[in-house]
Symmetry: C2
Subunit: 346 residues, 2 copies
């Protein structure tokens, strides 16, 4: 298990045991655990709980750092905020930490599994019967929308930032590139690699995400300079490779495969519209205007499937990784959108 | 030398010898030849000549197939059309065919070198002192704009489709991904590879271009179906890998490095605006609306540097590879734009 996924780097986080956890596929994830963090205090009425999910390669730590705090919509002085790491993240049960099903033996997990695990967490650990909000970005947005379908009404509100609930071919291709880069590495060895042998493919993965997740204008205007990097090469080496290279390839593969198969319609015979017909939550989609992974048009098409869903475009000039809140006018837009949603009566 | 670059596949083409050709870098490309094709007849006044350039991975063959013919603006019954393959294309002198400087020994070539070679071709082989039009797409657009700066007024008109004259960081990153994928292959061997050892990186290159060159909506609406492919996997295997996999990696590296270093400002101390101040051609930029490689905003920024330049957005729903004219309303827009430009008095 890589040190990267340690309490020191990503904690403090706690583990909630799910035991032998039956997946939507019918397979069993043995001795499963969901890693989570909390901020704030659950009130007596148990009506101030918010669940925050995680994106591809992210953990709850970055969600806490960016989206949670005094002055933000998700203010721990008002809300009891539960942040849950997705399966395969490296913190919850993952290829990198599963004793029984590590590496390539890790079964394929789905966003439905994440949501079922999160439901177990919030009901078993905190005795909740509803959530004021489920909020997530990118793959975390997929989980939030899966919540709306899988447990209708449990989440009173769902906010899906820069993501959708059903993966379309464009994102399948993105996943195939990641899969090909990682699994074709000479030392991959069916997933039983030595970490050092994955340095080249992980560097390529970082380069690819540079192109994918920052918009052309961000790169062309040297968007790395305000982030403190003197040159493109420094940005690629220190920031992008620095961020992605310590990750575990099998974890990335578990997540990317999950992303490729994401489909809220899984609970309705593959019919996303039928699944969304069950939704009782107030649903808000929040695409980022310059996002090339989840373009605004893709999110508009998704919103059209969801009864009553609304859409607020977050104006951003950085692309998908505007999610990192590097632009000064980003969090004000996020906070306004989430505060507005949280302020609505249900 | 790979069979792929044969007369059978890409001809008929002719070779014009440049002898030992001094590059803008000062290095010498030995026994250089520029491969070209012609259509139509040069008139007595020698004022109906059009030069067509080539894009990354493309040869004159695809330009002939798509853009030249009766009913098109570039009609051989009206114009004498010279189509010139870029250095490194596999047809003109390239890593794959240079006897003296093959493979990794091939010197870095620039778009300035292409334009100098093309100038040699049109003056030496055809005795021209001007061209009615230089037209190219993508990297070919870069060559067309380089013409406008390097030989002011020689081209009366310049039409740059889906491309710019100076590479910005976004495209540098694209090149770095291609370079890393190809050169990190276990069998790359500093460029002295066996072709079979490059199958995996060339497949990855094809996958990457699938993501890069088709827009999200093209993939999400199963844009491959009207092209006759039954599934995404069939499209990836038969069309994308089928197109890219037979190419020579060293040729791709020569081209991608040229693209990264493209800079019309090379003739003016690196100052693109100063280089464009020399322009006497009527310049038309034609970005494709859904292009993610040369976004409309990038082309607008380029046009702002060029005195008198105009810009016509080509509406397309396929992304950069709309260049392949797969949409029924594509060529009518191209033909209208080029006919309009050609019809203007100079």
């Amino acid at each position: 298990m890589s040190d990267y996924y340690s309490q020191e780097n990503h904690g403090p986080f706690h583990l909630h045991s799910l035991g032998d956890f039956t997946l939507t596929s019918g397979q069993v994830l043995k001795d499963a655990q969901i890693a989570y963090a909390t901020q704030g205090t659950l009130n007596a009425a148990k009506d101030n709980a918010v669940l925050v999910t995680t994106w591809y390669t992210g953990t709850t730590k970055i969600m806490e750092q960016i989206y949670i705090g005094a002055g933000h919509a998700l203010d721990p002085s008002k809300y009891f905020i539960i942040l849950a790491n997705q399966l395969g993240s490296g913190l919850s049960t993952s290829p990198s930490n599963s004793a029984a099903q590590g590496g390539a033996a890790f079964p394929a997990v789905s966003m439905g599994d994440d949501v079922n695990a999160q439901h177990r967490l919030v009901t078993e650990a905190f005795g909740l019967d509803h959530l004021a909000l489920v909020f997530g970005g990118s793959m975390g947005a997929g989980q939030a929308l899966e919540w709306a379908c899988r447990y209708p009404g449990f989440a009173q509100r769902v906010a899906a930032l820069a993501g959708v609930g059903t993966t379309r071919p464009h994102a399948v291709v993105i996943g195939k590139i990641v899969q090909d880069i990682l699994t074709s590495a000479p030392g991959f060895n069916g997933g039983a690699y030595a970490a050092a042998d994955m340095a080249v493919p992980l560097r390529q993965h970082a380069l690819y995400w540079t192109n994918l997740a920052w918009c052309p204008d961000f790169l062309d205007r040297k968007g790395w300079e305000p982030l403190g990097h003197a040159s493109l090469d420094a940005f690629l080496t220190d920031f992008m490779t620095g961020y992605f290279a310590p990750m575990d390839a099998n974890n990335l593969l578990a997540q990317v495969s999950k992303w490729q198969r994401a489909d809220v319609g899984g609970i309705a015979g593959g019919d996303a519209k039928a699944a969304y017909a069950k939704v009782k939550s107030k649903v808000l989609l929040m695409p980022i205007s310059s996002d090339q992974i989840f373009p605004v048009t893709t999110c508009i098409a998704e919103a059209a499937l969801i009864p009553g869903a609304r859409l607020t475009v977050i104006e951003g000039k950085a692309g998908h990784l505007g999610l990192f809140a590097i632009e000064p006018d980003y969090m004000p837009q996020i906070n306004a959108a989430l505060s507005g949603l949280l302020g609505e009566q249900v």
